[in-house]
Subunit: 327 residues, 2 copies
């Protein structure tokens, strides 16, 4: 039996949407038990008639923007209690669609880094050119600045994730830089390249550029958190811009509208390819426990997939495998 | 009369394509004189029958990847000579579609920074949601790391460019970060935010995120070169991914192909909106002279627009206006 803690509060679309995901997942996976943290009356109504789900009443909600110290003061918040249940081993994984900043602070402070992990990294799977092939990128925002040693650690953790969870047998690993040649980029990137190359890091392919990471050939891309966050949001922003323009193109006049009726079958596939929701969320790799952060605006489908990532992390013993790094 | 120096060598598509742009521009702008640097026999053929264009024979070509010292050794390369002609005031602007690294090294070393400019910044205009509205982003790759003072300088130069060249009356200026609130981001971003806010910098709107920069509301976005380069290439990469998937969607089956025939009018507008080629290239702001770098794979249309940017830079006295910053 796998015990998953769910922070039901603080997401954009509210607990009812998340409850649908939990119920759907619960019905299809009898070996998973859920402990859901949030306002009791709200959750009782959302889970009405559903058996085998534990509800834990919490009185506070972590707001979207919160400082680490403020997080620690809100000890009876759904997010704090959910993370705490992993710390005290009641649950094996925590899933939340609440504040990203709060979740990162909370998980790194309460769960602490695995010995040997210099910094935890937020790891996101990006959709690529190739159907059902994701590129794993970390860190996308747990840190601002990272040392070369952090980047090497990200490479190790990202590789474990790509291998064990995404079942990529020989993951290709890259450092994100502003040019392909060795020596390009900031001091940390240059030093990380050297460390990875000199240690014959398995699958290390050298530098890559942001233009290439979605080409379907990249399994793991490591970057300091600040630039990883820029990369993630630039991809999201451009995809959203193009999607708006596509809609506008089809709505231009009667002809283009008729065109849409004929073409929509093709665009359904495309939407599916580009749908980051199927990857469920970002994983905080490197802490003592499975911690998955769904997108703030997760719908039931996205949150279902975030739960699925958590289950696969537990089943494939990712935390234990990361512990090996430090030994 | 405006004198423009053109580096004809080292671009992906070769001198004939660039010559077409020069010829087209020359015919439409009788007040512009061109001095074209490159292999004489190649250029003579490319400009056959065209009057009033000066050809200067050069024996070397700067390769795509070059270190600053190697650049300085190639004194008879088309790029060196073209930049040199601006240094010795023979020409008022230089345009190249060759090596970006070489061009940045060459222009910063040969032309030097304007007094008061801590670092020159490569400035690119990005297409946005709003038709014919560009977002000016700098630095996109002249530097790796930048100080808060550099970022303030980028804000000043970007604002001058948006106001004088893009004719945006009250440009909105942002710092690129990983969150909107003051205090988010790396130390340099936090410090730059503070400097801009405390000096009541005209139009300073605070932080922005990479997801928002293409929304049509941003005029100037300042960032250290490394993250700016990631932003630029992530936008390019995602746009190219989506464009590939769109093509695939329309080619899926007979229905989707018929759909394309009906819808293509709408997509033509979209392509035009997204076409970064209409912005011609990136401008190295902060050096003593107008230096415009077209995309390596510039076609005649893109290079024509790069030339046009150079002319507008000269006509609007951008270098002189940046000199005011230091006074």
């Amino acid at each position: 039996m796998i015990e998953i803690a769910v922070d039901m509060m603080g997401s954009d679309l509210g607990p009812t949407v998340l409850a649908k995901a939990v119920k759907d997942y619960h019905r299809e996976h009898k070996d998973i038990h859920f402990t859901c943290f949030g306002k009791e009356n709200v959750l009782k109504e959302a889970f009405q008639g559903e058996e085998g789900i534990t509800i834990v009443n919490t009185t506070e909600v972590i707001p979207m923007e919160i400082k680490p110290l403020d997080f620690l003061r809100r000890k009876d918040s759904s997010m704090y209690r959910a993370i705490e249940s992993v710390r005290n081993k009641t649950c094996q994984a925590v899933v939340s669609a609440g504040s990203t900043g709060g979740f990162i602070s909370g998980a790194t402070i309460l769960l602490r880094n695995i010995p040997g992990v210099t910094r935890a990294g937020l790891c996101a799977a990006f959709p690529t050119c190739r159907k059902d092939k994701a590129a794993v990128i970390l860190d996308v925002g747990a840190n601002n600045v990272n040392t070369a040693e952090d980047l090497v650690c990200f490479a190790k953790m990202g590789r474990i994730y790509a291998k064990e969870v995404l079942k990529e047998e020989n993951p290709k690993v890259y450092t994100l830089s502003n040019g392909l040649e060795e020596g390009k980029g900031t001091d940390e990137i240059v030093a990380a390249y050297k460390l990875l190359k000199e240690s014959n890091f398995p699958g290390f392919m050298g530098n890559t550029e942001a233009r290439e990471v979605l080409d379907g050939e990249h399994d793991v891309v490591v970057t300091p958190g600040f630039s990883g966050n820029i990369l993630l949001k630039a991809c999201e922003g451009t995809a959203s811009l193009v999607s708006k323009l596509t809609k506008k193109a089809f709505l231009k006049n009667l002809f283009t509208k008729i065109g849409y009726l004929f073409a929509k079958g093709g665009f359904k596939d495309m939407k599916e390819s580009m749908n980051y929701k199927k990857y469920g969320g970002a994983i905080l790799l490197g802490v003592n426990g499975v911690a998955v952060k769904g997108h703030g605006n997760s719908d039931a489908y996205a949150f279902y997939n975030a739960i699925d990532v958590a289950r696969r992390m537990v089943e494939n013993h990712i935390v234990e495998k990361i512990e090996e790094i430090g030994k």
